[in-house]
Amino acid sequence: MKKWQCVVCGLIYDEAEGWPEDGIEPGTKWEDVPEDWVCPDCGVGKEDFEMIEIG
């Protein structure tokens, strides 16, 4: 499981947790997150997320 971070606002998408508020089940891999999903905090798209190392 990986984490992806929004480069604009720092929000983290954790594959293990998914994003249930938007119907994305826990365990959903980043590539399976719908292409039109946007950052819930600042509205940028998936292309503005980058994979981050888990500290």
């Binding site: 604009v8 720092g10 509205g43």
Partner: protein, 384 residues
């Protein structure tokens, strides 16, 4: 000479760094020099109005140090360097006594805050927050204080009001308009945000202005045109931004409300480009995140040699007032139509529809805010 010269980007805000990041996805070889008047620390400006809510100070909001950005992006950074001119015939950027040759020059130097000229001796307590260094100064000055007065009830004024209440400060907002966020939100949505901010404890003084700010006790006293007074420890001035155009004008670039560029982000002068808060792109001055990210992606390709026009989609603006989540997609200025409003308390769904029922813009607050993405899909993109 231009063959060997680097790409030079002026500005290390969200526009400058996003452009550099996108450019490096296309081209890892071409030398890039980034010039900034400040310290070059990477941060996201929209997050400056979330510090108290997220429990972050200026250091917490910093995303990466200057050194780390230089390394990550493979660029050379010139910090504390102020541009004094552009010699576009010679392809040189002028930094005081120094001249820096460029092959392509990108202006991403942002916007200036508008400062009102107000009488009184309390000006040293008036802060504008337009970058991380401003934010740092504001947070330091706020230490020990409890009361903040905000001039301006626009997006920034409202976001700071909410954030400071979340930090348990007393907040007074003073603005000449009769509603919050005039020109951005339709009235029912504006009223909903104002009501929730009031429920949170924000005190609004609308339809008046600050006449004087004088030292008073430990803080300052603001005398309003209405005759009221407001006491505060600090004042935030959030009355608007103006794209930085003066140096561009002096250099002979076409300017309007911003530095005028076409959809390929080209100014009127060869090899000089602009994006972000300083730019007027195809007639649009949009001081928001989504447009600048779209511009950064297009311009990165152009700089690599593949001329690319930006295509603005539908770009809702998220307003960070957590007490009343709000998103807005203003209809075009020249759009014909009417607002259709449904509401349930402070949850408002306002749709701007034309005669044939097409949605050309919207504003959603409260529990309707989650509809922003599905609504955005119905609104025609700015560039069809």
């Amino acid at each position: 000479m231009s063959e060997q010269a680097p790409v030079v980007i002026v500005g290390t805000g969200l526009s400058g760094y996003s452009l550099a990041r996108e450019f490096r996805k296309q081209d890892k070889e071409t030398p890039v020099i980034m010039v900034t008047a400040d310290d070059g620390v990477s941060y996201s400006k929209p997050m400056l109005s979330t510090g108290f809510t997220k429990g972050k100070d200026a250091d917490g909001l910093a995303q990466a140090s200057t050194e780390s950005m230089a390394e990550q992006l493979g660029v050379q950074l010139k910090t504390y360097s102020t541009v004094t001119g552009i010699d576009h015939a010679a392809h040189e950027l002028i930094l005081g006594d120094e001249r820096l040759a460029y092959s392509k020059l990108v202006l991403a130097w942002g916007a200036d805050v508008i400062r009102l000229s107000i009488e009184g001796d309390g000006q040293d307590r008036v802060f504008s927050i337009n970058d991380l260094m401003d934010y740092r100064a504001f947070r330091q000055a706020l230490e020990g204080g409890r009361r903040v007065a905000i001039m301006g009830a626009g997006l920034i004024g409202c976001e700071f009001a909410n954030d400071l209440r979340n930090g348990d400060y007393e907040v007074d907002v003073i603005a000449p308009s009769d509603v919050v966020m005039p020109g951005l939100l339709p009235e029912p949505a504006a009223n909903a945000v104002q009501k929730e901010l009031e429920n949170l404890g924000v005190r609004f003084h609308l339809e008046t202005v600050v006449d004087r700010i004088d030292h008073h006790g430990e803080g300052v006293r603001l005398a309003l045109a209405s005759g009221e007074t407001v006491d505060a420890d600090l004042v935030i001035s959030a009355v608007g931004l103006r794209p930085r155009i003066e140096l561009a004008r002096q250099a002979g670039l076409d300017v309007g409300r911003g530095i005028q560029v076409n959809r390929a982000l080209e100014t009127s002068v060869p090899d000089v480009y602009a994006l972000g808060d300083c730019a007027e792109v195809d007639g649009h001055v949009l001081l928001y995140v989504l447009p600048l990210m779209a511009c950064a992606r297009a311009l990165a390709k152009t700089l690599k040699g593949e001329r690319t026009e930006v295509r603005y989609g539908t770009m809702p603006v998220m307003i960070k007032t957590p007490c009343c989540p709000t998103a807005v997609c203003p209809p075009p200025d020249d759009a014909d139509g009417d607002w259709e409003v449904e509401s349930d308390g402070t949850s408002v769904r306002a749709l701007f529809k034309n005669a044939s029922g097409e949605i050309l813009g919207f504003a959603v607050t409260g529990q309707f805010a989650i509809e922003k993405q599905s609504l955005a899909k119905e609104v025609p993109p700015l560039h069809g």
